[in-house]
Symmetry: C2
């Protein structure tokens, strides 16, 4: 029987994703019926994004899975009407883009590029930066994104410590976990990269006390989620000279309001949530593969653990 | 017999290099006599840098080799009194530092970082950069520095073309050579990295005609040698909007004079010859290894071909 796939991710995404999804479904051999309007009781799979008109999953009595179009699931995982398997997006293009952005901004801070980009003042200051081997980088979060970034930074020569809630072992990295591991990871971070999911446990993880554990002059790079950091504590640590800089791509409110102090602070670089994005072609392949798996009775890829929240 | 090693690289370098050289010689088991003053006819090896007081090599009747402290040899290779083997510096620290600087600045331009670093104006412009796979990078020069940079850029996902005078084959790169290869390499360079040695053939290699071969909007990154580029042609190509940007670390005259138009040009980033430098510890090991080889009758490492000039 032809499965019915409801695209419940909004009209704007439909314009972007319809053609890639149809191509990917064709290529995977699944003769699915893909539409933006379907009787709920006839839907087999729901392609989803936050802000969808679908907020009550109760009427979807036959559905087999919700396939999230984005990597972050914090706006759906707590939905009390959701009792279906929920799959996150793990998109090769998203991972690659994140790796490029993180590697670029870590190198930017390591090399002290801003001094040259901002101050072409005619004064020759030939201060050669140290080698990467003398710059300690810590990455919080060792999922698909965090581990890809951490491994590339290690390939470049940085000594990299990765931290995750649960113990992990990843080639080329020192992996720490738990609260004690977090303290050590922060204490040895000349540059700190945040790639944790947003959960009740990680919200405001970087509060004043934990920011104080960072070495003086440390730089924070946050392409993960805005609420991982306590904004006021961050500004206070910058103003006190404890932190060297913060490059932030994600915020509690996006677009970041024009009056937010991050914009004008010389110690903060705001980038407008561009570190990476799901790429339609590669993401459509992930969705199609999960529908193929569902039809073949194979386990879904990238299932969310509702208790962990990611 | 204990070999006599003349340190002819100046008093400032002596202060930096004496201790690392003595350590490296001890470790390599060569009981050499290292000094800044020796009767020329008793010298076995000359450690050299441009600007040395030694300009006439004729009195060094017994010397076995000149060991250059830097990677570039353009200021000594043409010395008509030099008939000794001349070894260039190939220093792991120099290569690593160059790889970091080049990778960082290529990513900076690829990601469009300057827009964020320079313009924190409160306007949210969520334009996600393309992936590295869609940004073509060309590296001119495939010596120790060029090939290390090109391979790391390929590891990051950029399609990399490397060009060298003589044909080469390097894993992960498309390698072109000769004049036809140069034209193709330039025509397909969204970002162009210059790591050629300075020779009569490479001086002004990037003149107006060759700059015109680059795609519109191309970015040039030059950590090689200043005279590889015709300065006036570069400024004209920037002013005409043909080139997107130039990040230059090396210049015909250093320090770059304050009145040079590069400093004030919005399309040029000047960095003060900091892309990399020879690191005393690792460089001293290379010098000591060549002295050990000379004493053991083994071939020297990193010999310069006087005809090629590098």
């Amino acid at each position: 029987m032809t499965p019915n796939v409801l695209f419940a991710a909004g009209a704007k995404q439909w314009a972007t994703y319809e053609a890639p999804l149809r191509r990917a479904l064709d290529r995977s051999g699944v003769a699915a019926h893909l539409a933006t309007e379907l009787p709920p009781e006839e839907v087999d799979y729901i392609v989803y994004a936050p802000g969808s008109a679908v907020q009550d999953f109760t009427p979807f009595t036959r559905a087999r899975a919700v396939l999230n179009l984005w990597a972050g699931v914090e706006k759906i995982v707590g939905n009390p009407t959701l009792h279906l398997p929920l799959a996150r997006m793990v998109d090769h293009g998203l991972t690659q883009g994140m790796m490029e952005w993180v590697t670029g901004h870590v190198l930017r801070h390591h090399l002290g590029m801003d001094a040259h980009i901002l101050h072409q003042d005619g004064v020759w200051r030939p201060d050669v930066p140290p080698l990467a081997g003398d710059r300690r980088v810590s990455v919080l979060g060792l999922g698909a994104l965090g581990s890809a970034c951490a491994q590339m930074l290690a390939t470049l020569g940085f000594p990299v410590t990765g931290w995750s809630r649960r113990p992990k072992h990843i080639s080329g990295l020192r992996c720490l976990s738990g609260e004690g591991g977090l303290r050590q990871t922060l204490a040895e971070a000349d540059i700190l990269v945040l790639l944790l999911p947003l959960t009740p446990e990680t919200e405001n993880l970087l509060d004043a006390a934990r920011l104080a554990l960072l070495p003086r002059g440390a730089v924070i790079v946050n392409p993960g989620r805005g609420p991982l950091i306590d904004d006021d504590a961050l500004l206070a640590a910058l103003d006190a000279g404890h932190l060297g800089h913060a490059t932030l791509d994600v915020f509690r409110s996006e677009p970041l309001p024009r009056e937010h102090p991050f914009w004008a602070h010389p110690g903060v670089t705001v980038t407008p949530h561009i570190a990476s994005e799901t790429r339609p072609d590669t993401a459509a392949q992930v969705i199609a593969e999960n529908i193929r798996r569902g039809e073949a009775g194979e386990p879904f890829l990238h299932l969310v653990d509702p208790k962990a929240g990611y």
